[in-house]
């Protein structure tokens, strides 16, 4: 190992660095260890939460149905907590430290507080799991009052949130240090800016969580008599939905980062990409209203304005990223010499590199499945048809599993050689992992959305209503959808399991990475074919990007079509006024 550990005394504070063999940049050892710790715990909880998810999918498969209702509701609660909160936020902490200390070539602010944050989050996560498994807290991830969980359920989430909040402050502190110590010039890199957006949304999220969970905890202990049910839901979703908007910003940052690392992709326009991120800062969190569209007590004005992220300005932000990310890739590939036809740049992209494959699948699946379904589901009136049906988990498995989780996995394939300094063990197996997981996740999303369109309720242990006084049967196609969902769940579990095993074994037994093998350790990269590149086009700023135009036109057509199909269905409903 080329750990040329160097002690730099900057501003009177000692920090240990090593030199990265790939870039020659300094890497703060404290940041490196914190990234490792947060990423490892994230992946452990992904494994646990994923296993719970598999049990949920198998129970919903009518022919298999392995859990009885009590256990189903318990496992579903644990699944939601472990993957929506614990896996995602632990990994985001790793992303925040990476995007600040590593990318800015700077020491991490207050590593001790970062470790305290880590320990609080770990204690919270373990306590939450123990409390749920004890069986008195099967209240679902959302814990809508007046459903009451054991007090430790709320306490564990508060402890976790406080830890995560400290992590956000460490990130902000590191930005201040980098600026003071001039480790960068001008503006922070776009990826770090994206991480900043994630951090800002996280602070709003965690503050909202504290505002609602502390009184609920006191209520569960008997100190507060009453919590208003709609008020609870309003504030809870400022946390619950915004926490998924942290993912949004983090994964977009990763979508910019991976093509930059592998292909040297450059943002088409810093201004446009940063303005798109500004739309996230301002309006993304308003979409918490998506969960309040059929609640009594809130006006249509509030619903329409908030559900539309202020006239869809945050959606505009996403659509801009959806153009500039493939556009940046196309421009870079064309500069690398892949100039033939419309799609050579994409055909000759490093599809055998799991970091690239994961990133690109994540982008496409998020956009087509998660993005479009999210806007449709969040349309005030259309929500009447879809609220609390399986369409909702279908939608957010497209965003959080096929989108965020896959993006995080893709980044992990680069974090292992760069930060853990290990080669990926079994590269040929790793090559297939994103495809397996992506297909599984896409299947889960599509089949659950299908079942939801047929009216199937979410969070439901028995859709055949075998113990109900009054009988009811969903259409037979719904059962087929849930069977297919079970199969897709198995596929995703294999893909997810493979990821966990590959990463754990790579970290433990992978070949050490140093200057001699760092480039190969990052996986296959596009070869430069520079000879004929220079002449065909001018500089990258004036590139013509026909492939990207076709991609976004396809996306837009699918969006418009699906949007109107749903209005058509809505118009056939009983009249409501």
């Amino acid at each position: 190992m080329s750990v040329a550990a160097e002690t730099g005394i900057i501003g009177g504070i000692a920090a240990k660095f090593r030199t990265c063999p790939a870039t020659g940049l300094k890497i703060d050892i404290a940041a490196q260890n914190l990234i490792k710790a947060n990423a490892v715990v994230a992946i452990v909880f992904l494994a646990v939460g994923g296993l719970f998810g598999l049990l949920v999918a198998l129970t919903r498969w009518p022919a298999v149905k392995i859990l009885d209702p009590d256990l189903f509701y318990l496992v579903l609660t644990a699944h939601g907590l472990d993957v929506l909160l614990v896996w995602i936020i632990f990994f985001e902490m790793a992303v925040l430290y990476f995007a600040s200390a590593i990318i800015l070539n700077c020491r991490l602010a207050t590593p001790r507080i970062a470790w305290l944050a880590f320990i609080l989050m770990l204690v919270g996560a373990v306590l939450a799991n123990v409390t749920v498994l004890q069986g008195e807290s099967s209240v679902m991830f959302t814990s809508y009052v007046p459903l009451k969980a054991a007090p430790n359920f709320y306490l564990s989430l508060i402890v976790f949130a406080v830890g995560a909040l400290l992590g956000c402050f460490v990130f902000l502190g590191t930005l201040v240090i980098a600026k003071d110590e001039k480790t960068y010039e001008g503006s922070i890199p776009l990826v770090t800016f994206g991480a900043l957006v994630a951090c800002i949304i996280a602070i709003f999220t965690l503050a909202s969580g504290a505002v609602i969970l502390i009184p609920t905890w006191l209520w569960s202990l008997g100190y507060i008599a009453h919590i208003d049910t709609v008020m609870y839901k309003l504030v809870w979703w400022a946390m619950g939905h915004s926490s998924q908007q942290i993912n949004m910003a983090a994964q977009v940052a990763i979508w910019y980062a991976i093509p930059a690392i592998l292909m040297g992709a450059k943002p088409l326009s810093e201004k446009v990409s940063r303005m798109a991120f500004l739309m996230y800062i301002l309006f993304l969190q308003l979409a918490s209203a998506h969960h309040m569209l059929v609640e009594p007590g809130l006006s249509s004005e509030w619903k329409v304005f908030n559900t539309s992220y202020a006239i869809y300005l945050a959606v505009l932000g996403s659509m801009i990223h959806g153009f500039s990310i493939p556009g940046a890739m196309e421009a870079a590939q064309r500069a690398n010499g892949y100039t033939n036809g419309v799609f050579e740049w994409l055909r000759r992209a490093p599809w055998g590199n799991p970091a690239f494959a994961g990133m690109f699948l994540s982008l496409v699946l998020f956009g087509f499945l998660g993005g479009i379904s999210g806007v449709v589901l969040g349309t005030e009136q259309i929500n009447i048809m879809l609220h609390n049906t399986m369409y909702v988990p279908g939608h957010f498995h497209a965003t959080v599993v096929a989108g965020t989780s896959l993006a995080f996995m893709a980044l992990t394939y680069l974090v292992v050689p760069l930060i853990f300094q290990r080669e990926i063990i079994w590269p040929r197996l790793a090559k297939w992992q994103p495809y397996l997981f992506g297909m599984g996740a896409a299947g889960i999303s599509l089949f659950m959305m299908g079942a939801g369109t047929l009216g199937v309720a979410r969070r439901h242990a028995d859709i055949s209503f075998s113990d109900a006084t009054l009988s009811f049967d969903y259409p037979p196609a719904a059962f087929l959808m849930l069977g297919l969902n079970g199969m897709a769940g198995i596929l995703a579990a294999i893909g997810g399991g493979l990821f966990v095993v590959i990463i754990v074994f790579s970290v433990l037994f992978g070949k050490k990475v140093d200057a001699s093998n760092i480039v190969e350790a990052l996986g296959p990269m596009p070869q430069k074919r520079v000879s004929d590149a220079v002449h065909k086009h001018g500089d990258s700023g004036t590139f013509h990007l026909p492939g990207t135009y076709i991609l976004v036109a396809t996306f837009f057509s699918a969006f418009v079509l699906y949007y109107f199909v749903n209005w058509k269905y809505l118009s056939e409903l009983w009249q409501l006024g």
Partner: protein
């Protein structure tokens, strides 16, 4: 690159490509259109959720529902009263662990003011196979104006998790011609 600081420190004044500007314009206009669509549907559409809501004590709502049920009961189905209210009137359905009560018999094409509330936890009014879904809260009386446009037997499934009996909670609405 996206992982390094912008080379041009004055990146704000860089020119934006024409294709990108075209795309931003299309995306912005599409957003305005989708926003206008929701507003327009409030004016011209027939499927909008009513905003008529009152705070109510659960016992009061139960009394009103019982009085309504006693007045209009025509028969029983699985020991649950079936209620046939006057067309165009105020009708009540309460939710509690784990039932929707009473059963309603409505006339197709008539408009009713359906009062919904919960006696205990939150429930989800999910009318099947029509697929109308409305959240029901304890302490809030939501008055939904409803016009059945099909006849037949319809079920009300609970689609908000409400404890261990959640998956047995089914109610009924009949619509006659």
């Amino acid at each position: 690159m996206a992982i390094t600081s912008p080379e041009n420190k004055l990146w704000w004044t860089e020119k934006v490509g024409r294709a990108e500007l075209v795309w931003i314009t299309i995306a912005f206009l599409w957003g305005v259109f989708m926003f206008a669509m929701m507003v327009w549907w409030h004016l011209e559409g027939n499927q909008n959720l009513s905003n008529e809501v009152y705070r109510v004590v659960p016992e009061t709502f139960e009394e009103k529902t019982v009085a309504f049920t006693e007045k209009y009961t025509v028969r029983e189905e699985a020991d649950i009263p079936v209620v046939k209210p006057d067309p165009g009137s105020d009708i009540y359905m309460l939710s509690r662990l784990w039932e929707w009560w009473p059963i309603l018999e409505l006339k197709k094409g008539q408009t009713y003011r359906l009062h919904l509330s919960s006696m205990d936890w939150q429930h989800g009014f999910s009318l099947q196979p029509v697929n109308i879904n409305i959240q029901v809260h304890p302490g809030l009386e939501h008055v939904v104006t409803l016009t059945p446009t099909q006849s037949g037997e319809f079920s009300v499934v609970c689609n908000e998790f409400c404890g261990v009996g959640h998956h047995t909670m089914v109610g009924r609405i009949h619509v006659i011609d």
